[in-house]
């Protein structure tokens, strides 16, 4: 289905947070204030690798208006954080490993005072050799950044005998690909408000993608029970994976504990760039071979990821990259080796696509190169190798059957035909320095956390005392629209009005554990939770209503405003409102409140990190390359997405368009370059995010809703899949525009690279 507002018709649903967001009324967590509030600032390292010889805070402490200066000595519990393995110091003791490392934190009566106080803190460093690349960190004589060495994580996957199978191949392509250190670029930088409530519990109001995980980590750092902490984690001004790990929370919490006063922290953009996570830069070497018919026989992959100074989710990201390095293809002989390497660069971690973006760029580049080598049309080469619905997953694991790959392939095949027929006519009117080309790429993307990682979810459904149908999930709303998706699901399940609903999100005091708002998992968790709880709540409500009104329960149903009598053959009428129902229920012993804990669907096969639910996408683009300036303009994009039913058309379109914009930046302009372990770019003047003028003139979405027959898992999350296949499609289109011999192996595709590589060959021919 071509998805847009017109085709969505009655399913087009305005977001419930629209009024608050468009009027500026919505209070983000960084907008909050409290009486007597202090302002926190964090001193971060002046070096990317150094021993700390001394930290002197006396001058800062003496500054009038400064209420606290804390160091590692003031961390009562574990002075470490990290979602999987806590190895990042909250406040460094004797060693700094990157420029984002925190050394002290200050609370003062104004931001200016706190910032000034930081300048009075004297830190003595003994600089150490900087490991500014995985290559440097892997050198034999490299100093060890962590006791276990400089390799955070290794992966190894093999089937068949790739080495031997290359002997059978007629065509082999070997290429090394490189991808950039992309920044999340959320518009709201990290921050929030920290305070005590009337019961002396610590209230943390700060952005994250997993409030309960923050609570666990903070309890460990502060050495207080989790129950003494409330985490409010919604709404958020963008995250994209970047706020999943703790950021300012430990400092706000420690400063509040120390001063007993509310403390606000709000990172400047520069602080956000320096301390914040990035997408893993990866070097991916692939050697891939086909037989005479163009069938993939052997595929050898070596991945080296720069994970930066600390672990955070570096290991799961590498697992994901390893799993996705085979794409949606049948390949009998495979060998994948991955290493995620500690360096003194910025910390890499979770980012939309989760390691898939990098390897899909490489793999699709291999397919295009093989097609050229074998003289096979590149999309045809893919068809010959595409997985079938019942095939196992990329690492041989059982997955939910999906023919998404062939469905998106067909959709893209049509897009390619249309583009092939229109491009020559457009080209005819172009000046000679403009070249047009088209390119396509295909990918499959797993959702959920994967085998071997606890992936619990759940939620609560209730009729509140005020007569609201309340859905409570600990998910965060950071723009993705889970609030709208939940509202739509609730409206369908209860047949009620939006005014009857209350959606409670992102508060450990008010919502049960739903797991993280990551990994394209929330829609699936919400669907499965509501599907289980709605019949129970409805049954309980109708029982109360039947007793109250003396009507047979089977003639009752939930509807707009309350419980409706639907006698056969006569007009339905409302018997009692939800409020009246709530009052009736309050008199009975039976609370209208149901909670459940579920687990994200997972493969039964013990393959670490392997996924069970997959979405597929194929992207076709038309680009224009200016051979004088090196500028690549993406004129049109077609995205085919196979992810089950479109619950929320506006949200779906927004996720694909937004994911595509982010992927456009990844392909053409974004790279947080580092030199000697320091960021060469610290703000949005030199780190370029796509602007409105980079929007393609047309972007079409083909939403393929068919799932396998009797698929019980419901609609799939689409938060990431829009960002994974655009970059290789652009790379293919650039090559198509520029002609044979011009292959893109490194992202972003820089203008200067294009000019340098291609312009000289134009001389004399134009």
């Amino acid at each position: 289905m071509r998805l847009n507002r017109q085709t969505a018709q009655g399913r087009w649903h305005r977001r419930p947070d629209g009024k608050a967001k468009t009027t500026g009324e919505l209070a983000y967590l960084t907008d909050l204030t409290a009486p007597g509030m202090l302002y926190g600032k964090v001193l971060r390292s002046a070096y990317s690798h150094a021993r700390l010889l001394a930290i002197r805070t006396e001058r800062a402490e003496r500054l009038p208006g400064v209420h606290a200066v804390i160091t590692h000595r003031d961390v009562p519990g574990l002075n470490r954080f990290g979602i999987v393995q806590p190895d990042q110091p909250v406040l460094c003791e004797d060693l700094v490993r990157y420029v984002g490392d925190a050394i002290t934190a200050v609370a003062a009566e104004s931001v200016e005072l706190a910032t000034y106080a930081l300048t009075l803190i004297e830190v003595e460093y003994e600089p150490l050799p900087v490991l500014d690349s995985p290559e440097a960190a892997l050198a034999e004589d490299a100093p060890l950044l962590h006791p276990e060495g400089n390799v955070l994580h290794r992966t190894s996957y093999a089937r068949g005998d790739a080495e031997a199978a290359f002997d059978e191949c007629v065509h082999i392509v070997e290429q090394t690909y490189r991808t950039p250190r992309q920044m999340h670029g959320y518009m709201e930088t990290e921050g929030g408000l920290f305070s005590y409530d009337a019961d002396g519990r610590l209230v943390v109001r700060a952005a994250t993608q997993h409030g309960y995980k923050d609570r666990m980590q903070l309890a460990r750092i502060l050495a207080i029970p989790e129950e003494r902490i409330r985490v409010v984690s919604s709404p958020i001004g963008g995250s994209f994976g970047g706020k999943d790990e703790l950021n300012v929370q430990p400092y706000g919490a420690l400063l509040t504990m120390r001063t007993g006063r509310p403390v606000r922290l709000h990172n400047s953009r520069r602080e956000s760039v320096i301390a914040g996570l990035k997408r893993h830069p990866m070097r991916v070497r692939m050697k891939t071979g086909i037989d005479a018919e163009g069938r993939l026989l052997a595929h050898e992959v070596e991945i080296v990821a720069d994970t930066g100074a600390y672990a955070t989710l570096g290991a799961p990201v590498l697992n994901f990259a390893t799993e996705h390095a085979m794409g949606p293809y049948r390949i009998p002989h495979v060998s994948v080796q991955g290493r995620s390497v500690y360096t003194n660069n910025g910390v890499s971690g979770e980012f939309r696509g989760f390691g898939g973006n990098q390897v899909i760029f490489a793999l699709e580049g291999q397919m295009d190169r093989l097609a050229a080598l074998a003289g096979i049309e590149p999309w045809e080469l893919r068809r010959r190798n595409l997985r079938a619905a019942a095939d196992p997953g990329p690492m041989g694991q059982t997955i939910a059957p999906t023919d998404g790959a062939i469905l998106v392939w067909r959709s893209a095949a049509r897009s390619r035909l249309e583009a092939r027929s229109s491009v020559p006519a457009e080209q005819a009117g172009d000046p000679p320095w403009l070249r047009r080309g088209i390119g396509s790429a295909i990918a499959m993307h797993g959702s959920g956390l994967g085998y071997g990682i606890p992936d619990p979810g759940g939620g609560r459904l209730s009729l509140t005392g005020e007569g609201q149908l309340e859905a409570a999930f600990s998910f965060e709303e950071f723009g993705q629209g889970i609030v709208a998706t939940l509202e739509i699901m609730m409206l369908e399940l209860f047949g009620c009005d939006a005014a009857d609903l209350s959606i409670v999100l992102g508060d450990t005091d008010k919502a049960p554990h739903s797991g993280s708002s990551t990994a394209s998992r929330s829609t699936t968790i919400a669907y499965q939770t509501l599907r289980e709880l709605q019949p129970r709540l409805t049954e309980a409500m109708l029982t109360v209503a039947a007793a109250a009104c003396g009507a047979p329960q089977e003639t009752l149903a939930t509807g707009p405003g309350g419980i409706w009598l639907r006698p056969p053959g006569s007009e339905p009428r409302r018997l009692l409102s939800y409020r009246e129902l709530a009052e009736r229920a309050a008199r009975s012993e039976r609370p209208l409140r149901f909670e459940t804990a579920i687990h994200f669907p997972v493969t039964p096969d013990p393959v670490m990190g392997a996924h069970f639910l997959y979405t597929c996408t194929a992207v076709t683009v038309e680009v224009e390359v200016n051979t004088l300036t090196g500028a690549v303009t993406v004129q049109s994009q077609q995205h085919a997405v196979a992810a089950g039913k479109v619950v929320n058309p506006m949200g779906y379109i927004g996720q694909i368009e937004g994911g595509a914009s982010m992927a456009l930046g990844f392909a053409l302009m974004e790279d947080a370059e580092m030199e000697g372990g320091r960021y060469a770019t610290e703000n949005l003047d030199t780190y370029l995010l796509p602007g409105v003028a980079d929007t393609p003139a047309t972007l079409e979405i083909d939403a393929i809703e068919e799932l396998a027959p009797d698929d019980p898992y419901g609609p799939r999350g689409i938060g990431e899949v829009g960002s994974v296949a655009l970059a290789p499609a652009i790379a293919a289109a650039v090559r198509d525009a520029m002609g044979p011999g011009v292959w893109v192996a490194e992202l972003p595709i820089r203008r200067e690279t294009l000019i340098r590589r291609f312009a000289p060959s134009e001389e004399g021919t134009r």
Binding site: T23, M187, E188, G654, N683
Partner: protein, 171 residues
């Protein structure tokens, strides 16, 4: 007239009109318009993001023209009419939204919403000048405002909706 007393030295008396209301404040010599609006007046619809005038999250209208409040000094805006997102719908009926706000909601012109106040005011300035803008005019007018969530599709459709509404005979 709202008057906020501040005892700090080294500043000056500041008068201006904020969202239609005459204001008299004490501003510090080094104070940015962003700080005056967000911190002193509590207008948190004015967002802080890059702090160097590149993202447009802090866009407000000063005498109807879009300005990055993170760059403008407060004293430079003395005597001016300043409109923040909180004041955009002032001309509408009580509880009503401005047509641009309605268009953003209708077309999905926002997700996280953090760029939305600034983006909305940039659209206001565009449409005041060009009620039915060309694509070029729109792209130019909104190039100072970054949105990381939407990919700008919903925003452009919202602008188009406003423009086509104003093309209606009684629009």
């Amino acid at each position: 007239m709202t008057r906020i007393e501040q005892g700090e030295p080294g500043g000056s008396d500041w008068q201006g009109i904020v969202n239609g209301e005459p204001m008299r404040l004490h501003v510090r010599a080094s104070q940015r318009l962003l700080s005056l609006l967000r911190e002193e007046l509590g207008l948190t619809g004015v967002k802080a993001s890059c702090g160097i005038g590149r993202c447009g999250a802090c866009t407000v209208l000063v005498d109807e023209r879009p300005v990055n409040a993170c760059l403008a000094m407060a004293y430079q805006c003395a005597g001016k009419r300043i409109t923040t997102i909180e004041g955009l719908a002032d001309g509408e009926g009580k509880g009503e939204l401005h047509p641009i706000q309605r268009a953003f909601i209708e077309e999905g012109g926002f997700q996280c919403g953090y760029c939305t106040p600034g983006m909305t005011l940039a659209v206001k300035a565009l449409l005041d000048e060009h009620p039915t803008p060309t694509r070029e005019q729109t792209l130019q007018a909104l190039s100072g405002n970054l949105c990381r969530c939407t990919g700008y599709g919903g925003i452009l459709r919202a602008v188009e909706r406003c423009a086509s509404d104003s093309r209606l005979p009684d629009g």
